[in-house]
């Protein structure tokens, strides 16, 4: 049986080795190199770039990015879960069209969708004009070019990565469990907390990881919605390659970002494993 297993996983592993591991080895090597005055890479095996990462300036950018990513993830769960739940309980024939309807906005170029948000939110924008006409405010609100706008943009960009995995999990939920719970006198909210939520946790976990990780590397949203006023890790890394021409430092930052994310994922799954015991209990009870 295990021979079959190896046979099945081999193509993917081979693929990732050729197109991911090998190029990444180059990146790791570059992260220990230095830049020449004209931005070329010289391999002198130094830890200098990792040393720079530890400076308070750059650490604070990492901290700031983690906060933004965390808030973004929480908001996407809150927005994505109910929608996914709604689609999953539709009659079977409407589920797929429902999902695709959620995805269509994301098949339009992200940049122009972001610019559309700017038109909606700016001082003379759609929203402010409506609010002023309705007499709710006297002066236009500054809705753009701040952290709130950055998070709104990120939530908007990453919502499908939350909706899809959660839908996948809810869709396979055995409704007899819920019926049993209700027969046993459980209130709907209790049933949701004790049965639905734990059993759909794999989807929430997958969605959380996809959203959290993707938001760490974002750089277009902070520029367009945040007016490029705050620096997040994505922008910092982008700058090393596209303006400072410091590939070694950019590589070191990227590796640190990857390592950090990996540690967070492992911690997250550990926590879930502990909770999973609880979920299995719920199943037994039901």
């Amino acid at each position: 049986m295990n021979k079959n297993g190896k046979f099945l996983i081999a193509p993917t592993l081979l693929w990732l080795t050729v197109f991911f591991v090998v190029p990444m080895l180059i990146v790791v090597a570059v992260s220990f190199a230095s830049r020449t005055p004209y931005g070329q890479v010289v391999f002198n095996w130094t830890l200098h770039n990792y040393g720079r990462f530890l400076e308070p300036l750059y650490l604070s950018i990492f901290g700031q990015t983690l906060v933004v990513a965390f808030v973004t993830t929480v908001v996407t769960v809150l927005m994505g879960y109910p929608l996914a739940y709604y689609i999953a309980q539709l009659p079977k024939r409407w589920q797929q069209p429902g999902l695709i309807l959620c995805m269509i906005p994301f098949w339009i170029n992200f940049l122009i969708r972001s610019y559309a948000w700017v038109i909606i939110l700016r001082a003379q924008g759609v929203l402010n004009t409506l609010l002023i006409k309705a007499g709710l405010i006297g002066q236009p609100l500054q809705l753009l070019y701040n952290e709130g706008a950055v998070m709104l943009g990120m939530v908007y960009a990453l919502l499908p990565f939350m909706i899809l995995p959660i839908y996948v999990s809810i869709e396979q939920l055995d409704h007899r469990l819920l019926e049993a719970a209700s027969d046993l006198g459980a209130k709907p909210l209790t049933a949701f907390r004790k049965i639905t939520l734990p059993l759909t946790m794999p989807g929430v976990a997958a969605g959380t990881i996809l959203v959290f990780i993707s938001s760490l590397g974002m750089f277009v949203v902070p520029d367009v919605m945040g007016g490029a006023k705050s620096a997040l890790v994505g922008n910092l890394i982008q700058n090393q390659f596209l303006s400072a021409r410091d590939w070694p430092f950019g590589s070191a930052l990227s590796i640190m970002l990857a390592v950090l994310s990996l540690v967070l994922i492992i911690l997250y799954y550990r926590t879930l494993q502990i909770q999973k015991g609880g979920a299995d209990n719920a199943k037994d009870v039901a």
């Binding site: 079959n4 297993g5 099945l8 996983i9 993917t12 592993l13 990732l16 197109f19 991911f20 190029p23 990444m24 180059i26 109910p82 739940y85 079977k92 024939r93 069209p97 999902l99 995805m103 906005p105 994301f106 098949w107 339009i108 170029n109 940049l111 122009i112 969708r113 610019y115 038109i119 909606i120 759609v126 908007y156 919502l159 499908p160 990565f161 995995p165 996948v168 869709e171 396979q172 939920l173 709907p188 059993l199 759909t200 794999p202 989807g203 997958a206 969605g207 990881i209 996809l210 590397g217 890394i237 982008q238 390659f241 596209l242 950019g250 590589s251 970002l257 990857a258 990996l262 994922i265």
Partner: protein
């Protein structure tokens, strides 16, 4: 009674989220009728961007390239990723955690680093940059997303059905084809949707691995930014959106068998 109250609230909330998703698209479609080249403020109504679009060979080429690259990389990454997810779910490997880590890493690495490193790889192996290199790169970054999404489905699946099938002397292939595959299908569809979405909107990685004659829509649009994105792009997006929605509805209308099936269930 209480149940309908709850479901109304859920419906209202879902519609609100959907409105959030579509609001920018409405604005975007509106501005495709705006007379100004630079699309900053409303200056007048016009159809001219739709006319221009018809004559813009380069935008249409870019659209075709995007769809070719997107569909091929979706099919390949979804197939490879699904098989890998099944293998990981069903078998124990010696280096399970290393393999898991390897599957997550492509998501964790910033796009620009992945793009540049692939550029170095392709130029070192003298692979000419073009559609083929674009597809190779897209498959690489879509793979992990598929594995994770399909994996989430498998994690929530009960082993009973597969067990029952093999107790009834189904061959492993029959077991896969008639039991596992239908059960995880929603996961595969979701994975494919994510892969397709990522591919057709990717700019950073695509830029580095594209060559002459393989400009995709995102590449074309991002490069336009310096001079101001032409409202032709709004027009194109509006057309695309309408076609997509029409296709979804059409596909639904053409599937009468569903209803019968549901009744049978």
């Amino acid at each position: 009674m209480q149940k309908t109250w709850r479901s109304h609230l859920l419906l209202a909330y879902s519609l609100a989220v959907l409105a959030f998703l579509y609001l920018p698209l409405v604005i975007l479609a509106m501005y495709s009728f705006n007379d100004s080249r630079i699309n900053a403020v409303w200056t007048g109504f016009t159809f001219k961007w739709y006319e221009h679009l018809l004559h813009n060979r380069r935008v249409l080429e870019a659209l075709i390239n995007t769809l070719i690259v997107g569909s091929i990389s979706t099919v390949v990454s979804t197939s490879l990723g699904t098989i890998a997810a099944i293998a990981l779910h069903r078998y124990k490997f010696k280096m399970q955690s290393t393999i898991n880590g390897l599957l997550y890493l492509p998501i964790l690495i910033p796009e620009i680093v992945m793009g540049l490193s692939l550029l170095v790889l392709f130029s070192q192996t003298r692979l000419p940059l073009g559609k083929a290199t674009l597809i190779l790169a897209h498959i690489t970054f879509c793979l992990s997303f598929v594995v994770i999404t399909v994996g989430a489905r498998l994690d929530g699946m009960k082993a009973d059905y597969e067990q029952a099938a093999s107790d009834l002397y189904a061959t492993p292939w029959q077991c896969f084809r008639y039991v596992t595959l239908p059960l995880i299908m929603p996961g595969i569809v979701a994975g494919a949707l994510i892969a397709f979405t990522l591919s057709i909107d990717d700019f950073v990685i695509s830029f580095f691995v594209a060559g002459p004659n393989s400009t995709t829509l995102p590449l074309y649009i991002y490069a336009m930014v310096k001079r101001g994105i032409s409202p032709e792009i709004n027009a194109l997006s509006t057309v695309m959106m309408c076609v997509e929605i029409a296709l979804v509805l059409l596909a639904e209308a053409l599937q009468p068998s569903h209803k019968a099936k549901e009744q049978a269930e």
